[in-house]
């Protein structure tokens, strides 16, 4: 009797792998609980939106989506990604924020699994050492370089920088400083703020005392509202100082609650829920209906990430080895709700339009209204 058991197990395993041959497993590791939950939820909603709209099958294969919650901690992401690659044998893995994407990167290389980065904005996440990674989010450099150019052309001469002290913040500052000084401007003060910071008062006072005409700020989206409020409370707006930054600080997830203090903030963004295109109007309407809140730029990382996976599978006609998938992804161009985007065949990083937008009140709600476009911007830190 006991001898039969392994046999039964073997048959069972064969049967199940047989059934799965038609499926393509896509594993995505997201923070769905904890402080970063809003990020994970936006990505998840973006992915679900795409699959609801385009069906769960592509190139004759059914997409089997597995979402894992890493609660925002990178060692969890690593463990979960390993389980997805080794146990679930996923064909494609999706990763989220910088620490988590950095942790998963080497695994996807060793396991030869295609890896789509859907949230991270740090340039170095997509690098030559990890050849199976592509990005559908953005890089902070894309936005920071453009806002520097724009500010220099529009009357800013002396800029003070307030930056959250972590990798993306440092990158934003570096790109901004380079581009702005090249355009003839001057950086009068760079202030690094601890990532967990309750009160911006001292930093804002210091920035004010440096007498800049413009303040460039990069803080995590959740803190941007507090920052803008204290900016006006301290009277920096009345002192004639303009507030600019990358689009993260007017994240559509938080923007409706930020209050009138953010009116007039100018940012370089890759997406605004108010982006004027038919594709985006449909996207926003469907997203709001399904989730009850606005999509933000992060949701697009998930939505476009799924699109890229679908397109690649169509091109490979269902072949799922990392080599073919990544080759198929390189150079893919499409019209996303955020505008035209593509995957740079050389760097595997995203190329997209960057928009200059200003926060305005539309029908009683705050929106980031775009008024200028810089087309097909590449990551400036990868330019040679």
């Amino acid at each position: 009797m006991l001898r039969i058991i392994p046999l039964v197990l073997a048959v069972g395993t064969m049967a199940s792998t047989g059934a799965l041959a038609q499926d393509v497993k896509v594993g995505v590791v997201l923070p769905l609980t904890g402080g970063l939950a809003p990020v994970g939820k936006q990505v998840q909603a973006g992915i679900k939106m795409y699959m609801d709209k385009n069906g769960a099958s592509v190139a004759g294969k059914k997409i089997d989506l597995i979402i894992k919650d890493d609660a925002g901690s990178a060692d969890n992401s690593k463990r979960l990604a390993q389980e997805l690659i080794v146990n679930d044998k996923v064909a494609i893995i999706g990763s989220a924020l910088t620490p988590s994407a950095m942790a998963i990167g080497p695994l996807s290389t060793q396991g030869k699994t295609a890896n789509v980065v859907m949230v991270s904005g740090t340039s170095g996440v997509i690098n030559p050492n990890n050849p199976y990674m592509v990005r559908t989010s953005f890089t902070l450099g894309q936005q920071s370089g453009i806002i520097a150019e724009w500010a220099a052309k529009n009357g800013s001469k002396k800029v003070a920088i307030v930056q959250s002290d972590w990798a993306p913040g440092a990158e934003a500052t570096k790109v901004f400083t380079d581009a702005f000084t090249k355009a003839g401007g001057e950086i009068v003060e760079t202030i690094k703020v601890p990532l967990a910071n309750p009160d911006f008062a001292p930093f804002l006072q210091r920035a004010r005392d440096a007498n800049p005409d413009t303040l460039f700020v990069f803080v995590p989206a959740g803190q941007a509202g507090t920052f803008a409020k204290q900016f006006t409370e301290r009277g920096l707006d009345k002192a004639g100082i303009k507030l600019i930054g990358p689009g993260d600080i007017v994240d559509d997830n938080d923007l409706p609650g930020m209050g009138d203090a953010v009116l007039g903030v100018v940012t370089a963004d890759i997406y605004s829920a108010y982006h004027n295109s038919p594709a985006n109007k449909d996207y926003v309407a469907a997203f709001k209906k399904a989730n009850g809140y606005r999509p933000n730029f992060i949701s697009l990382g998930g939505y476009d990430g799924m699109h890229l996976i679908y397109e690649a599978l169509k091109k490979t006609q269902g072949k799922t080895d990392a080599e073919s998938l990544i080759n198929a992804m390189k150079g893919t161009k499409w019209e996303s709700p955020r505008g035209p985007i593509s995957i740079d065949p050389e760097t595997r990083d995203i190329v997209q339009n960057v928009y200059i937008g200003k926060v305005e009140k539309v029908d009683g709600e705050l929106y980031n209204v775009e008024f200028a476009t810089f087309e097909a911007v590449k990551d400036p830190l990868k330019k040679k």
Partner: protein, 286 residues
Amino acid sequence: MLTILFDGIAYGMLLFVLACGLSVTLGLMNFVNLAHGAFAMAGGYITLVLVNRAGLPFFAGLAVAFLITALIGVLFERTLYVHVYGKSHLDQVLFTIGLVFMSVAAVDYVMGSQQVFIRIPGALQGRFEIFGVGVGRYRLLIIVTCGLLTLALQLILSSTRFGSRLRASVDDARVARGLGINVNAVFSLTFAVGSGLAGLGGALGAEILGLDPTFPLKYMVYFLIVVTVGGTSSITGPFAASLLIGIADVAGKYYAPKFGAFVIYTIMIIVLILRPQGLFARAASK
């Protein structure tokens, strides 16, 4: 310079209102309540709903937030906390940290995870100058409110019948019972006031600290530092500690932004090396 001092005082006062409830439960009732921040968050969200959605005036919102949070405090104290009073501190920590996680998830579910702001009246926005010192109106309000509250608390504790009953219950609950003091009722009321103050602090602080479901976790460390540095014997200790930390934090971040984040921890370490019991510790302990 004076502007920095002013901002520091305002920040310190805010920390005091948020943390004094904790110092009361920890110091007077000898109960570790890490869920204290959850009451602060509750106060913030209650004010938000009342002011932004129901259109109540801001100050009425603050008062109601205090009352409702105090009520929630009593409810929790009577139904849940009462079972862990006698348990070890580890049990209390585990129990209350569990409550924190539940509150975070519950608020996230009901209110959403995004950062929210309470609409404050226009008269409280902006700032004005007195003798060249920039004074934020809202920060001035915080200083005045919290200053009055501190005075009131100190008076109640030191010179009312309730204050002496509370001190008696804390010193020796058994003897206090023997003397006919209803210790349970005294503790309930104290807990309620402590929670209510946290709620008020959360509502007042939303403008400066921001408000989102992870509030209790984000600020837990600050509350605990205030209580540790201040000592837990009276409310003078935490008050002095709050001011010290508030001013040092703001000034440190202004003059040396690179080390700004370490200033409060450095102060905590120095104070604890010199006075392990906190600035104003009770001489004899049980």
